[in-house]
Symmetry: C2
Subunit: 420 residues, 2 copies
């Protein structure tokens, strides 16, 4: 019998205990051994969770319990769970976590600490979708050319509603908060940080790249308006918050931002709170993985799958996919300034003679070539210029936006969305 | 160093050797050990395959070679590969196969023979999509409620072309043969047998069900016409060859047939030669896996992933997902007669007074309730009745079709397509 301790019995922790109890028939048959939750750590000892397990508010009651084989870490945060997981691994307990922030900052240290102890984290990326094992095991024969993912359900729900129902950004954010899809402080989701944590985990598995959130381009969806949605529809794009990892020779670019993507791509068809990840391997071509990226039961499904993996075979795969560094050309992170993309810009200008000529001249001076341009009146005195560019360098676009913002006939900072 | 022998160096076998050679940098880093192909068995010794390996036409040169750690079986067929794989496993060699027919007939015997030796088969279902590991490992916490898959690229290509371009069945079959998507004798694909082999493999992993092709409902797409496509479009359906596994209490229904499916479902959006499998688990909800289901490199990507798995950890998971049978309510195969579905029928009738009344009376007598009915003229003397039913029993539908076929004003055997 395998005994599990859950640190953090909230929504996901409760689901983990419920699944291990309710699906014990199929789980024990698959694992070849019975798996039971012995105890759980909570903050509030008074709340009844309907579970027949020992409840404590002291983490050490699990960490020091020699009967516990597997520790499930669902505390949230970074520093405290790092200390807890470290202690668990050092005492020889296997660990399963759903904590993406912990991994975004400490995954390589944890890999070193874990050594031959199983440390699994399927639930940390895209909830119920088994993308970690698909990328780490299923596609292991491939050089990964790119990963393009919708990995924040809140943002995708908001973008879908804005597209399908013409709702304004502020209104849909309010609705998402009322539905419980968005937090009271939504910046972790709509700012792209949640998605970035997940991307960094996948980037390690695909490329062996050790990057931190502060090293990569992270932008959110908070500048998107119905003007941009209208442009997207007119030109055959869907608007999504995308996580992108792309290999270019020996460099890998990692970025999270709102993006216009051709509506015929599979990833463009993913609507609502669902997640999906498209992975292109040099041999297999494109494969795509779709499913619920959040929710107690879906996330717990992945946590329990990891528990079953460990029960079946202990540690079967290197934690981050590589048993040793790749020889020869090691991959490095591409500096953000060197990223190349097509860009869409929305520039609110005073509707005066000569403005268009001045704007186009600035594009030319910054080596940015215009592919399409639309002018749409906003009111009597101003208009929006909606411009799609050919491939340009990130540094040039950023410089140009600074220049444009300072012009007296440009009324606000231009909105820029990358075209993928 | 791990040494591999490939039995059957055709398209896939050549790709396996090429991937192990071309991607050796990333493969050895991930596996933690170098993996090389030592030798390959072919029928034609004269043909140059551009590979730096020993080529032989004698299977025993690999089976008796004590240096070979992993045998890759890519011979095709059933009886001969069964004997070869059996001998390899009995001599302690790990085996990787892409042979779905072998598994459709012998997977449980092979599981017994393999015992603690690794025997892997990711490439046998849906080519490059890692669906075996997703179902066996990633979703192991769930009771699987249903699997709905597009697992034959040839059929999906044909259905897509018939839908998008209005091409007739015979014309698109000819084109598919010219493009190499369909065989000279296409019956294995268009008859649903290829897809059925794959479904049986997934059913074992999901449900522990041991069924053979002859035990389950298998129909193809060869009766589908543009009349049916037009009906599908009008009523918001896509037409696909689907593999379906569905749990209903303690019974599992397994079936392969052309199906009308709501066009808003993710699986309905899968076009062309691509494969996709939607899996619903009781805890995770729906997840979907999309990618190339055939092709040398895509299939070889899955074969090599299995080789890497074995190099990393030997045998890490029970072959068919269960370490021991499920206690209590064992699942059994639902008899085909008891399957329930909505049905679409196309009945070519003589255009005479009273025919409609007689037909509807027969529906009533067979306990089949009509949901929608359209009459479309074919020529001066005959018309097509296009009828969608409410939920009905398979046995009743089959009986009714026999009765209808015998009527003098019914001009040919009615075409029936299930609505999913």
């Amino acid at each position: 019998m395998i005994k599990v301790g859950i640190i953090g019995v909230g929504t996901v922790g409760t689901s983990v205990a419920e699944i291990l109890r309710d699906n014990a028939d199929v789980i024990s048959a698959r694992a070849g051994v019975d798996i039971v939750v012995k105890s759980g750590v909570v903050k509030n000892l008074q709340k009844d969770r309907g579970l027949d397990i020992i409840i404590t508010d002291n983490v050490d009651d699990i960490l020091d319990d020699s009967e516990i084989d597997i520790v499930v870490e669902l505390m949230g945060g970074v520093d405290e769970p790092f200390a807890v997981v470290k202690k668990a691994l050092e005492s020889g307990k296997a660990v399963v976590t759903a904590n993406k922030a912990l991994l975004a900052y400490h995954r390589y240290e944890l890999q070193d600490i874990a050594k031959d102890i199983a440390f699994e984290y399927e639930a940390s990326v895209a909830g119920g979708i088994p993308i970690i094992s698909a990328l780490r095991d299923g596609l292991s024969a491939n050089h990964i050319e790119s990963i393009v993912g919708i990995m924040n359900g809140t943002c995708n729900y908001m973008m879908t509603k804005m597209t399908d129902e013409g709702v304004a950004y502020d209104a849909i954010l309010k609705e998402s908060q009322e539905l419980g899809y968005a937090e009271a402080d939504p910046s972790f989701d709509v700012g792209g940080f949640d998605a970035a944590h997940k991307l960094l985990i996948l980037a390690s598995i695909a490329y062996g790249i050790d990057a931190k959130p502060e090293d990569i381009l992270i932008e959110g969806i908070d500048k998107v308006s119905q003007d941009d949605i209208a442009f997207a529809k007119e030109f055959g794009y869907a608007l999504k918050l995308l996580c992108i990892a792309k290999k270019d020779a020996n460099e890998v670019e990692l970025r999270v931002h709102a993006a216009l993507i051709n509506k015929d791509e599979m990833i463009a068809k993913i609507d609502g709170v669902m997640n999906a990840i498209s992975v292109v391997g040099d041999k297999v071509g494109e494969t795509l993985y779709y499913g619920p990226g959040a929710g107690g039961d879906a996330t717990a499904s992945a946590v329990v799958a990891n528990i079953i993996d460990i029960a079946r075979s202990g540690k079967s795969t290197p934690m981050l996919g590589f048993n040793r560094p790749m020889e020869g050309n090691k991959l490095t992170l591409k500096p953000t300034a060197n990223i190349e993309s097509k860009y869409y810009l929305r520039i609110n200008v005073s509707d005066k003679a000569g403005v268009l000529a001045k704007i186009t001249k600035i594009f030319e001076e910054n080596s940015i070539s215009v592919a399409t341009m639309l002018q749409r009146p906003v009111d009597e005195n101003s208009a929006n210029l909606l411009i799609a560019t050919h491939i340009a360098r990130e540094e040039n676009i950023q410089n140009m936006i600074t220049i444009l913002t300072d012009l007296d006939f440009v009324n606000s900072t231009p909105v820029m969305i990358r075209i993928v």
